[in-house]
């Protein structure tokens, strides 16, 4: 018997994933510098990146006056054309997937876990407050208008938030013909699961199977991540900020700077909070990687600029957390200390994070010298630190009641940082780290 939910979605779902995959493969071919990825990891990674490239292209096509359906078709055809012209380079990147029995077992266990979570994800529509206040309404608004109509989006909360999630959902609605937010949630689940699988594939490539299994399940056992993957918060953008930062970190750590930077720049397209993360990583890369400066300016202009210029020219209220005029005098130091303690307390919430932050802290403090010496780790850790400091500043200056604001936001803001921090931690514990970074190896050779 066919499951009714799958029957309803028909071909729309696989077609959409195929569009993301083709565009993602082309983008990968454009930015990848070297690769030891297996075919399987390459496909996962391309699909993941493709979602961001397609949604940003949809927005750009919308600015040019194209409706959603013709825009999607053009993006798909352009992706196909680029794929075909670069097919030799793309096929060269593919390596056969060699796996041991134990690795296969890890994949089976992970697959079963994701299947269970998938059933949970599609057992309900989007229902958390943020979803019904603005994420799902924006999906419906874009689907009804057929393009990005900012005046329409101003009817909902946070019109300044970028449109990665709304465009994913709206495209699913477009292909299905009605606003089925259960299907949209299924799409979000698949994309987020792909992010987790990329981490799994990467870990298995760099660690012995038992260590890899430990890191993968540590990431999977962060309760808050599962809540955003399949539970209450599925249908919001926070998990994508965390996972894009993580995949970006993985690519940078293995020396694919351009691909990593592209992932980080897309954080600003996923959620406004990602802008600082993206900007700090880009600035640090600009500082420490002179050879990438021209690339950084180009990629930044292409990925960061469109939405941020658009909302400012359309007079969208961008002061989401505070307005300078609304800041009132308060005991600043105590407020800042309270915000720091909020994160201190959050990081040791074992029921939410297991020991994810502990392993990160332990990795950093037991490899302190290497953290400063290896450029990849240095850039990533300072970016994470900048983002964390930015959240502490926001919690300090917010005009909202501080304790309630922190209680409502601290877990999901920590989710932006946690996966990337875990990626760095695993790297610090790996053999690659002992051998030195790719940058050092390149210089030495």
């Amino acid at each position: 018997m066919m499951i009714p939910f799958i029957q309803e979605m028909g071909f729309s779902f696989p077609f959409l994933l195929f569009v993301y995959l083709i565009v993602g493969l082309s983008t990968h071919a454009l930015f990848i510098q070297h690769s030891k990825m297996s075919l399987w990891e390459h496909l996962l990674s391309s699909l993941f990146l493709g979602t961001a490239v397609v949604t940003l292209s949809q927005f750009l096509f919308s600015l040019l006056g194209f409706k959603m359906a013709p825009a999607l078709l053009r993006i798909f055809l352009l992706g196909l054309l680029f794929f075909w012209t670069n097919r030799k380079k793309i096929f060269l990147l593919w390596r056969p997937y060699q796996t041991s029995g134990f690795q296969l077992l890890i994949w089976v266990v992970l697959g079963i876990q994701l299947l269970l979570l998938g059933v949970k994800a599609v057992s309900a529509p989007t229902y958390t407050w943020d979803s019904i206040a603005f994420w799902t309404p924006k999906m419906i608004a874009i689907w009804r208008d057929g393009y990005v109509n900012i005046e329409g989006l101003k009817n909902f909360n946070h019109p300044e938030y970028p449109l990665y999630v709304p465009l994913l959902g709206a495209t699913q609605f477009l292909l299905q013909g009605w606003p089925n937010d259960v299907a949209a949630k299924a799409l979000f689940f698949v994309i987020a699961s792909v992010g987790v699988c990329i981490f799994a594939a990467w870990s298995m490539r760099h660690f012995p199977p038992l260590k890899a299994a430990f890191w993968i399940t540590l990431l999977g056992s962060a309760f808050i991540l599962r809540d955003h993957l399949a539970g209450e918060y599925a249908g919001t953008a926070d998990i994508f900020v965390g996972l894009f930062a993580m995949v970006g970190a993985l690519r940078i750590l293995e020396g694919n700077w351009k691909l990593g930077i592209v992932h980080f720049l897309f954080l600003a397209w996923i959620k406004s909070e990602g802008l600082v993360f993206a900007a700090s990583l880009a600035s640090l890369s600009f500082l420490f990687m002179p050879s990438l400066r021209r690339f950084l300016i180009g990629a930044g202009a292409l990925i960061l600029a469109p939405w941020n210029i658009f909302i400012r020219t359309q007079h969208v209220d961008t002061s989401q957390y505070f307005k300078f005029g609304e800041i009132y005098a308060r005991p600043w130091l105590q407020y800042a200390i309270y915000a720091i303690h909020a994160f201190r307390e959050e990081f040791r919430q074992l029921n939410k994070w297991n020991l994810l932050f502990w392993w990160t802290g332990a990795a950093v403090f037991t490899h302190l010298r290497k953290c400063f010496r290896v450029v990849e780790v240095r850039v990533l850790l300072f970016s994470v630190l900048t983002q964390l400091i930015m959240y502490i500043v926001i919690f300090t200056v917010t005009p909202e009641e501080q304790a309630s604001f922190i209680a409502a936001a601290v877990s999901r803001l920590s989710l932006h940082l946690a996966p990337a921090m875990l990626a760095v931690a695993t790297w610090l514990f790996s053999k690659n780290m002992q051998e030195g970074s790719y940058e050092i190896k390149i210089k030495a050779s």
Binding site: P125, L218, R226, W358
Partner: protein, 172 residues
């Protein structure tokens, strides 16, 4: 001294163990490296307990979730959203689309219903008004509960759906 003592509960085993491991790895690198390695074991065990625990919770949750596989999306949405999808997306939206209505007022609703109405009636702009207030000039269309008989009598009935009515009121 008492300030240092106050750090103990503040940082707890979570942060102190990191400091201990960092010092251990820095000072006892070669001779005692085996003992330093042993220090990691409790934390591997704690992580593994957490991993088992969380998967156990997910498995406990399965009997509730698995039966939903047989349901269609609409019934899942209705289960969570209640009657709003049928009322606003299907019944009222068709009238709003036909008559090209731009503004709709909702009488005396909670913010959850207001969010769903805004979402499902888009592109119409939806606002909530308290029961006593008069309609703004441009808002001729109002959705009220059928029990508000004074509104039903005063306006022209356009559509009724599951205990709510879409009315066209006289302009000011």
């Amino acid at each position: 001294m008492h300030k240092i003592a106050a750090l103990l509960p503040l940082l707890g085993w979570f942060y102190f163990s990191i400091v201990g491991l960092a010092l251990g790895s820095a000072f006892f690198k070669k001779k005692y490296s085996f003992f330093v390695k042993m220090l990691w074991i409790p934390f591997i065990c704690i992580s593994c307990v957490g991993i088992v625990q969380i998967n156990y919770f997910e498995i406990l949750n399965l009997p509730k979730i698995l039966p939903t596989l047989k349901d269609a999306s609409t019934s899942k949405i209705d289960h969570y959203v209640g009657s709003y999808r049928t009322q606003y997306l299907q019944d009222f939206f068709s009238v709003i689309q036909q008559r090209n209505i731009h503004y709709v007022s909702l009488l005396d609703v909670d913010s959850r219903e207001l969010h769903y109405a805004r979402m499902y009636l888009y592109p119409a702009i939806v606002n909530s008004i308290p029961s006593q207030e008069k309609l703004p000039k441009e808002h001729k269309f109002v959705i009220v509960g059928l029990e508000k008989s004074e509104w039903i009598v005063a306006g022209r009935l356009l559509k009724v759906s599951q205990g709510k009515a879409l009315l066209e009121m006289e302009g000011e």
